[in-house]
Structures are given as structure tokens and as C-alpha cells.
């Protein structure tokens, strides 16, 4: 899963789009309209497996144009599906919006539209092998997995998504669009062990190019977990506080929520996150000093690095949490920023978040060996949600293999454990972070494709995590 750094040829469909954006921008200028046009495109393939068979093999092609018009302190937006030869359709949308913007009441705090960034910023990073992907590659992974575990009474399931996505932006204060095109795949492979109390296990992978995908490695990882699950007894524990080692898939999910709760500037301004303006500001020590997060599009260790946001703002190295201290927050949305009189500084939607590694164990065996005292290993958090956003409190349940480790060995396979804790406590109680980096997929499959991942240490140990219940019968 190493980063691909070679720049690839632009997908042939992009050139007519850039021409169309320029044409519509000129049309708007000639009509005396102030506004912007954003293009988004996806070409997605997905194969899904359940009950050890392919349940879905789909492709999706989508192209959308988003138009925003600002007339003084009045604003309106609209979107339409269109192809690159549909300039009349876009002109009609522009005209409709331009008529209707006059009906919008003035918004006193609205600032003038700003120019989007210009320069040598176009990036065409899509992998040709993912553009024209044969779904056989995806189906084969599940088939091979089924064959590998044919000796056990297991059901194979999972999802494999791959595709290409593009965006381009122009506005009437500039002459040239800025464009990005990327590709990604993400896959999750799950086994349910029918002869072992329906225990579940999972492996996942994310990457930018098809040659980073390694089916053998995924099946091998799954096999290792399979051995663990079939050779350990199922057990339950009493609710209480436990030291927990989170796998990157679980820790990445905690970081993703932390992003919204603490690093999202608009959320902070609205008071909807876990930080209160009178108690927490830029420069405040929020978390333990072993905890550092960055968003750096120039970092070779992150995936999907984009030099310009979908909002047309240039992206630079952006420290977020430095040794526990809040360094920056994302301000991406013009309407929200105008409300608070703040300038935009980034685009959180395309951020490439990385949590700095530490000196903790690099691999699974070393991680297990490091636990002398009873410690829980949580590989994944299912259905996290905020029980009290203002306090940073959340809940979620462990899934896909929760283990009790003690005396340097795995003692038992636990039922799924419910966590009720707060992000303040979790990120202040990190004992160590693994020295190895791992990429966790953060792309949702809802809406148009836009790849996202978090790079974080393979394992993170947190002290005194609150466990309040489990999936053992009668313990909910």
C-alpha cells in the first residue's frame, strides 16, 4: 500500500469538461453575472458479496455541474446532471438561477466572492487500470477467499469498490479552471464462522492504484485472524475500565469523529462540537503530548493528497494537533465563515489526515507480547455515535474480533463490547502509539465518489476505557 507518486495521463474525458467550464464562465461574465461552476464526476464499480456469493456487481457513471451565483449580498445555488456537450442545459440553469437570485433576501454578513486559486495546480492521478477495471478482479477476491476457507463452515461477505473521480472549479473572477482527477479502491472482506458462535472477522485495504492491491495478502491476514478466533474460547467480562489497544481501523474511526468534533472550525463556531470557545482555543493543550495530527498534501505517506480543495482553496501543510495542542481548525464553507467573519483556510472534505506514529509495537505479535496486565484488543468500532456532543461523549460497540490479552498472550475471544467514553478522555490517556503507519479507508459509498483515508498508527494503546456492556445475551 505504498504511495504512487508518478503523475499519470489525464483521463480523456476531462479536456472537454474544462473547455465547457471555461465557456460557461465566459457566458456568465458576458451576462454580468458573478458566480462559480464546479464539476464533479465519478465512474464507480462495486462488487458485494454475502452468504458466500456475489450479491451485487454494479457500475455507476455520474457527472454533475454545480452553479452558484452571488448578486451583491444575495446568493443562490443549483445543480444538474449534464454531459460535456450540454452547454445549453448549463446556460439555462445559470439563467434560471440568475432570475431567481433577485428574489433572495439580502444576507447582511455575506462577503464578496473570492477568486479561486490559479497556477500549475492541476493533478491527474487516476490509475488507468482502475478506469477500465474488469469486475472479474473483484469477483475473484471473494471466490478465492471462499475456496481458501472451504474446509470451515464459514460465510464470506464483503464489498470491493473501485473507481475514478474528478472535480474542477472555475469562477468569474478568474479565467482558468483548476482540476483534479484521482482513483481509488477500497475493500473489506468478512468471514462469519457458523460453527463458532457466529464469530466474525474482517480485513480491509485502501489504495490509489490497482497494483497496490494484493489479494493474497488479504486472505493471509484473514487466515491469521481465523486461527486466532477458532482457537480461543468465547468469554465475557464485567463492565468497568480497561486498558484497550485499538487497531488502526478502530482508532481511525475515533479520529474521524474527532475531526468533526474538534478540528472542524464551523462546528466549533456553532458550538456544536466538543470544544467550548471560552475554554478551548487555538493554542490550548487539549490532549496528551504524545498525540499529533497533521493534514499535509505534500506528505508522501498520505493517500489521495489534493493540492486544491473542491472549494478552490489552495492546500498547504496544516498542523492540527501538535503534541496535544490545538494548532489549526478547518474553515471550508463560505456561508458559515461569512456568518462568523472568518476567512476560509482549507477544505476539510479533501483532507489527508495523518496521526503521528510513536514508539509502540510495530506488529501484532509484538503488540500481544507487550501486554503483561489484562488488556482488551478492539479491532473495529461498530456504529459509533455521539451521546453528548458538548461533552465529547460517544458510544459504539466493538466488532470483528475483540480479545482479552494478558501475560503476553491472547487469553480469550470476547463478545462485542460497548464503549461509553469521551474523546477528551481517550486522547488524553494514550499510553503508546505503534511505530508503524496504516491507511484506513474513510470514503463513504454515499453520494458521488471522493476518496478519503486516514493514516494512523497500526495500534494505539489507551488506558482506562469505559466498557459498559456487551453483546453477550442479557448484557446489552
Amino acid at each position: 500500500m505504498s504511495k504512487q507518486s508518478t503523475h499519470k495521463a489525464m483521463h480523456t474525458t476531462m479536456q472537454p469538461v474544462l473547455k465547457l467550464l471555461t465557456e460557461i464562465n465566459t457566458f456568465m461574465k458576458n451576462e454580468g453575472i458573478t458566480g462559480s461552476i464546479t464539476y464533479r464526476q465519478e465512474s464507480s464499480h462495486m462488487v458485494r458479496c454475502g452468504r458466500s456469493q456475489i450479491s451485487l456487481n454494479v457500475s455507476e457513471e455520474g457527472e454533475k455541474y454545480f452553479v452558484e451565483i452571488q448578486a451583491g449580498k444575495r446568493k443562490i445555488s443549483g445543480s444538474t446532471t449534464a454531459q460535456a456537450n450540454d452547454s445549453d442545459k448549463l446556460k439555462t440553469l445559470v439563467s434560471t438561477l440568475n432570475e431567481r437570485v433577485k428574489l433572495m433576501p439580502e444576507v447582511p454578513h455575506m462577503s464578496p466572492m473570492a477568486a479561486i486559486v490559479q497556477g500549475d495546480l492541476n493533478r491527474f492521478n487516476a490509475d488507468g487500470a482502475l478506469i477500465n477495471l474488469d469486475s472479474k478482479v473483484m469477483v475473484d477476491l471473494f471466490r478465492r477467499c471462499g475456496e481458501h476457507f472451504a474446509h470451515g463452515n464459514v460465510e464470506v461477505s464483503g464489498a470491493f469498490s473501485a473507481g475514478v473521480y474528478s472535480y474542477a472549479i472555475i469562477n468569474t473572477l478568474v479565467d482558468a479552471p483548476v482540476a483534479y482527477q484521482g482513483s481509488d479502491y477500497n475493500v473489506e472482506l468478512v468471514l462469519q464462522l457458523l460453527d463458532h458462535d457466529k464469530k466474525e472477522l474482517r480485513v480491509a485495504d485502501v489504495g490509489e492504484a490497482l497494483n497496490q492491491f494484493d489479494a493474497n495478502s488479504l486472505i493471509k491476514q484473514l487466515d491469521a485472524s481465523y486461527q486466532l478466533l477458532t482457537n480461543t474460547p468465547r468469554q465475557d467480562i464485567e463492565p468497568g475500565e480497561y486498558d484497550v489497544i485499538f487497531h488502526a481501523d478502530a482508532f481511525g474511526d475515533l479520529i474521524n469523529y474527532l475531526g468533526y468534533m474538534a478540528l472542524h472550525g464551523e462546528t466549533y463556531q456553532y458550538g456544536m462540537g466538543m470544544l467550548q470557545q471560552d475554554k478551548h482555543q487555538i493554542g490550548s493543550q487539549l490532549f496528551g503530548n504524545n498525540f499529533t495530527i497533521t493534514d499535509d498534501p505534500t506528505d508522501p505517506e498520505v493517500l489521495f493528497a489534493r493540492p486544491v480543495g473542491e472549494n478552490g482553496i489552495a492546500r498547504q501543510p496544516f498542523p492540527l494537533i501538535s503534541n496535544g495542542v490545538l494548532s489549526n481548525q478547518f474553515y471550508s464553507d463560505k456561508d458559515d465563515c461569512d456568518r462568523f467573519g472568518i476567512a476560509r483556510n482549507n477544505d476539510m472534505d479533501v483532507a489527508s489526515i495523518k496521526v503521528a506514529t510513536g514508539n509502540g509495537p510495530a506488529d501484532f505479535a509484538a503488540m500481544v507480547k507487550s501486554c503483561a496486565k489484562p488488556t482488551l484488543f478492539i479491532s473495529f468500532i461498530h456504529y459509533m455515535n455521539l451521546t453528548n456532543a458538548a461533552k465529547g461523549e460517544f458510544t459504539g460497540s466493538s466488532r470483528f474480533g475483540t480479545f482479552l490479552i494478558a501475560n503476553g498472550e491472547i487469553k480469550a475471544h470476547l463478545y462485542n463490547q460497548r464503549i461509553n467514553d469521551s474523546y477528551h478522555r481517550i486522547f488524553n490517556q494514550i499510553e503508546w502509539l505503534s511505530s508503524q503507519l496504516h491507511h484506513v479507508n474513510m470514503s463513504s459509498t454515499y453520494g458521488m465518489r471522493s476518496a478519503s483515508s486516514i493514516a494512523c498508527p497500526r495500534f494505539v494503546k489507551v488506558n482506562k476505557v469505559k466498557i459498559t456492556g456487551s453483546s453477550a445475551p442479557g448484557k446489552g
Binding site: S44, K64, G78, P105, N388, A390, G469
Partner: protein, 487 residues
């Protein structure tokens, strides 16, 4: 467009499809308006057009979608779907077969008095700003109204001869207000405009003056919440009002009873279900006071669309009768598979719940209106009066559910403490949790028709690619015994 669609289906049969259908969104419009603190915060018009083609070849599904509306492009997408089905058939254990259904030529139109797309922009803005002004209070940080209007014209044709046209209009609107409590932490009250199950779905809902009762109530409740004490940890009875009952029903009955999920098709993402095929006809899912249904025939609801995306006419299916599990949320494919797996006929016909969010999605089992029958335990006042030590809870704030829907943890926006049959005071940050089956078996009072309301849900997510679905829950107020709260 019907001609194009017919030609494409005939072409795909020629190309080797054993079954084919096409769904064309000829028109798909969304107008969204939101206000905040007396300003128009967003005004957006979105329009899209496209189609999805689904085929069965060698017993496997293939699906492709496109937005290029020419016959040639449709044929190309169809050929792509056939290729996908052939590839998928490399790894199947059991060929897909579809339960019989009637061949239908029909159309369905949402009941609507005033099409929101015919109302002038000025009138819409003025009305929403008027509602916004009713929510204002000097102690509040933010308040407003957000409303979305949807209009879709969908053609469906399949190779079995069905041709169905649907004109759907939906309206989703929410009131919201946020303020900081005595500790400087944010509290909120929100309200989704409920829809009258026997009413209509258009702009008439927004100009109904009853909405001013809701703006006043939301404002007053948030003001009271700011100075209310925190919910204490204890085990007590809980009375769930309809918004909270909708969540409880949605998460622990609805999702748990989707047949694709029970069979294991959602395992890698959303999870499985604690319900097994062997449980149908046997399992005491809840107390004898619980009767639940998947009712696609409710006159007015975002979950009522006439026909599902398999072309099956909406039905009213009893899921749980007097506490005993009877049926599931089903489609043509899944009932055949489940019956074969169980070796008996559990499901006699599709429940007509196969739905796709968009033309770009393959339809899967989705809730339509997952309702609970009203009971005979009187009005809300009667239930409160009969409660010695309890909490009355309303409006979901957060939800987290075990991967097999076996347990849950829910937080609410507002709650009231009940002692000796009377409400004593409001509490904030109330939460409760439980095991799904024991919770439903602890149901001991079900309110009558006066407490029954239809709660629309516009944000139910399921599947990969993830699809957001519109539906509703018609539910009464209910009481559950001995529930863990405040943890």
C-alpha cells in the same frame, strides 16, 4: 421514453438476459431552502435525470446506470449490466430466482393538494421566515427551518410485461433551535413536521397554522431544558413518545427484520440480525401488546410509493402479531432464497419493499412504513397516571445499535421525570439502553389511537453503495418496564 425503455428490454432479452428491468427518472427535482436566525441560509435547486438497468444472467444480478438519455447509451448500459451479471455468476451458490408477481400496467401519484413546485419562491421564503421568527429567543444561539421538496417522475418496465409510472411528491421539513445550557454546553430541540397518515403531502403542510403550535412548543421546551437538571442513572419505567418510538421501532424492529440482513447480505457493513429463519412463527419478539406491520398502503407517507422497484404492488404485512414474529421486510428474490434455505414456506409473497434511492442504485429491502398498532391503554395522560417511577422521553439525539440489532443505546433531546403518576420536572441529557428482545418483552402499556402518529424518516441509510431512503413509522406512545437510564 416508454418506447425507448421497451426497445431496451427487448434488446437485452435478445442479448441473453433471462430477466431485465429498467427504471428511468425522467424528472427528478429537489428544491431545498433553509433559514437561520431570520436569514435565508441556503437556497438550492437540484435536477437530475438518468436510469438504471438490472439484468439476471446465469442466476446472477448485473446492474449499470447512466445519465445519457439516448437509446444507444441505454443499450450500452444494458450490455454492461449483462457482462457484470456473467462475471458475478462466477461465484454464486444459489441462482437468483424471483417469486411470482402480477403483471401490472398502472400508475401511482402521491396525494398532494398544493405541488410545492407551483408555489412562488417569494411565498415559500416568506412562510419559512415566518416560522423561523416564531422560534427566536434571546437565549438561543441558532434557530431556523429547513425544508426540502422532492418531485420525481419514474418509469419502470420489466421483461415480464409490467409497465408502471410513478409521480412522487415528498416534503421534508424540520424546525431546530440550539442554545447553551447552564454549563455552557449546547442543547437542542428539533421537530420533523409529522405527516397526517390520511392527509396529503404538499405545501399545504407548511401553511397549516398548526405549525405555530410546534414552533411555540420547541421554543418553550428548549428554554426549559437550559435550566433542567441532568438525568440521573437508575432503572425505571420509560414512556416513549412517538418520535422516540419511531427510532426504537426503526432500529430494533425495522432493520432487524430486513430479510436480506437476516440472510447475511449486510453482514460486512451494517451487520446481521439476532433473528433467524427458525424464529418465524415461534419467537416471542415482544409482549402480547406488540403488533407491528410493514404497511406500504398508508395513504400519505414518504414510505408509500404505490409499487416497489420490483414492480410489486404495495401491501400491508403483519410482522409481529401479539408479540410473536410472523413475517419480514421482503422482496421477490429474498423470499425465494429464505424459503429454500429454511426448507419450508415462511414467506408466501413479496412484501413489496424492494426499493432503490436513485436510478444509480440496485434496489434492496427497505422499510416502507414500519408501524405499531395502537393499543387499549388509553391516552398519554392515562399512561403517565399509571406510572409510579418513570421517564417520559422524546426526540432522538443519538443512536448506536449492536451489529446484530441485539442491543441499543439511545440518547434523547428531552425527557420528563414522572413520580407517583405525575410529571415532576424536565431533565436533560437523558439516555437509555437495553437488549432488543427483553426490551420489547417489557412493553406493558400501548397508547390508543389518540397517541398514534405517523413520523416521517428521510435519512435511513443502508447498503453499499449506501442508499438513503424515505419512510415512516406510525406509532403510539408506549411504556416499557425497568429500563436502564442515564448511563
Amino acid at each position: 421514453m416508454f418506447d425507448h425503455a421497451r426497445q431496451v428490454i427487448a434488446y437485452l432479452k435478445d442479448q441473453g438476459a433471462d430477466y431485465a428491468d429498467i427504471r428511468i427518472h425522467q424528472q427528478d427535482e429537489e428544491e431545498s431552502i433553509s433559514t437561520m436566525k431570520g436569514d435565508i441560509d441556503k437556497y438550492n435547486l437540484a435536477s437530475k435525470q438518468g436510469y438504471g438497468i438490472r439484468v439476471l444472467v446465469n442466476g446472477a444480478w448485473g446492474f449499470a446506470s447512466s445519465e445519457v438519455m439516448t437509446l444507444t447509451a441505454m443499450q450500452q448500459a444494458g450490455v454492461q449490466a449483462i457482462a457484470k451479471a456473467k462475471t458475478a455468476s462466477d461465484y454464486i451458490q444459489q441462482k437468483v430466482s424471483l417469486a411470482p408477481k402480477a403483471v401490472i400496467q398502472d400508475s401511482y401519484t402521491s396525494p398532494c393538494q398544493i405541488d410545492p413546485f407551483t408555489v412562488s419562491t417569494q411565498d415559500k421564503l416568506a412562510r419559512l421566515l415566518q416560522l423561523d421568527s416564531q422560534l427566536a429567543d434571546k437565549r438561543f444561539d441558532y434557530w431556523g427551518v429547513s425544508a426540502s421538496f422532492y418531485k420525481r417522475d419514474i418509469l419502470y418496465i420489466d421483461s415480464e410485461g409490467s409497465e408502471i409510472r410513478r409521480h412522487l411528491i415528498e416534503l421534508d421539513a424540520e424546525l431546530f433551535a440550539y442554545a447553551k445550557d447552564q454549563n455552557g454546553e449546547q442543547c437542542r430541540r428539533t421537530f420533523n413536521l409529522p405527516q397526517d397518515a390520511n392527509g396529503t403531502t404538499g405545501w399545504e403542510n407548511i401553511i397549516n397554522d398548526a405549525q405555530f403550535d410546534h414552533t411555540a412548543r420547541i421554543r418553550e421546551e428548549l428554554l426549559a431544558l437550559l435550566d433542567a437538571p441532568e438525568c440521573e442513572k437508575e432503572v425505571c419505567d420509560v414512556i416513549l413518545l412517538p418520535e422516540m418510538m419511531a427510532l426504537q421501532t426503526h432500529e430494533t424492529i425495522g432493520h432487524a427484520l430486513e430479510l436480506d440482513r437476516i440472510l447475511g447480505y449486510e453482514l460486512s457493513y451494517a451487520g446481521g440480525s439476532h433473528v433467524d429463519l427458525a424464529d418465524f412463527g415461534q419467537l416471542q419478539f415482544g409482549s402480547h401488546k406488540l403488533t407491528a406491520r410493514a404497511d406500504g398502503t398508508v395513504a400519505n407517507s414518504p414510505g408509500s410509493i404505490g409499487y416497489d422497484d420490483d414492480g410489486v404492488k404495495a401491501r400491508n404485512v403483519t410482522l409481529i402479531k401479539n408479540g410473536v414474529l410472523q413475517d419480514a421486510i421482503t422482496s421477490r428474490q429474498m423470499i425465494m432464497e429464505a424459503n429454500a434455505k429454511a426448507g419450508r414456506t415462511i414467506f408466501s409473497a413479496s412484501g413489496a419493499t424492494s426499493r432503490a434511492q436513485n436510478y444509480s442504485n440496485l434496489p434492496i429491502e427497505r422499510m416502507n412504513n414500519i408501524n405499531i398498532d395502537p393499543g387499549q391503554d388509553g391516552s398519554l395522560a392515562d399512561i403517565i397516571a399509571a406510572t409510579e417511577n418513570g421517564l417520559l422521553m422524546e426526540t432522538p439525539r443519538s443512536w448506536s445499535i449492536g451489529s446484530n440489532r441485539e442491543n441499543f443505546h439511545f440518547a434523547t433531546e428531552v425527557a420528563w421525570k414522572i413520580k407517583h403518576g405525575k410529571i415532576t420536572h424536565m431533565v436533560r441529557n437523558a439516555t437509555y439502553r437495553g437488549d432488543s428482545l427483553s426490551f420489547w418483552n417489557a412493553l406493558d402499556m400501548v397508547g390508543d389511537e389518540r397517541t398514534w402518529q405517523l413520523q416521517p424518516v428521510f435519512q435511513c441509510g443502508k447498503g453499499q453503495p449506501n442508499q438513503i431512503m424515505r419512510l415512516a413509522h406510525g406509532i403510539p406512545a408506549c411504556r416499557f418496564k425497568n429500563v436502564q437510564v442515564g448511563e
